[in-house]
Assembly symmetry: C2
């Protein structure tokens, strides 16, 4: 009885293991959320929610140093969560696409319960 039970459980576990998304995809998903998982970056993203802002303005909105904002923008840029364009001396940042908005909204919803 026990043995049979164990065998079934073993089979079930194997089924689950085989149905998992590939290791590397899971890793990428974690990396994606990791980018959202920092309060400075979240503040930047919400500052850009519907707005296009240059680095200095973002720093002013967040009341943080230009340098740390710039460092975090690079991470957001690498993750393709923000896009940017140059206009003279300034560089304007904006949220990259609808996915970013959706993920932010979903996070907000989960928190506001």
């Amino acid at each position: 009885m026990e043995a049979k039970q164990d065998k079934n459980n073993e089979e079930m576990l194997n089924a689950i293991i085989n149905n998992q998304p590939p290791e590397e995809v899971l890793y990428e998903v974690a990396e994606l959320f990791k980018v959202f998982g920092d309060s400075t970056r979240i503040r930047i993203l919400y500052a850009l929610f519907g707005n296009e802002l240059c680095v200095g303005d973002i720093a002013e909105v967040l009341n943080m140093s230009q340098s740390s904002v710039s460092h975090q923008l690079r991470i957001l840029k690498d993750a393709k969560l923000v896009k940017f364009r140059r206009e003279g001396k300034s560089i304007f940042y904006a949220l990259d696409d609808d996915h970013v908005y959706h993920i932010m909204e979903m996070g907000m919803e989960h928190v506001e319960e």
Copy 2:
């Protein structure tokens, strides 16, 4: 001209600052995503996607130690991403609600592009 421009920009920045969600909400959103932003926890969540598993089984699926799985389950539990019930000596974990599914699906979608 410059001065007027600056004034408008200042007003715009103030408008943005005032429209930001409260500091503490942003902090919580970041904390939420931080929980999703670790590959061990993401692997646990996907193992639980549609399944109810006990700790030992999760450890087997992930091929990790019982201890580290348990530590991460505590974090998932604190964040209300998983729920659990006891059955005899075992404790079975499952995803807590639809939000969790949605957030995971959204992350997956963003990655698979």
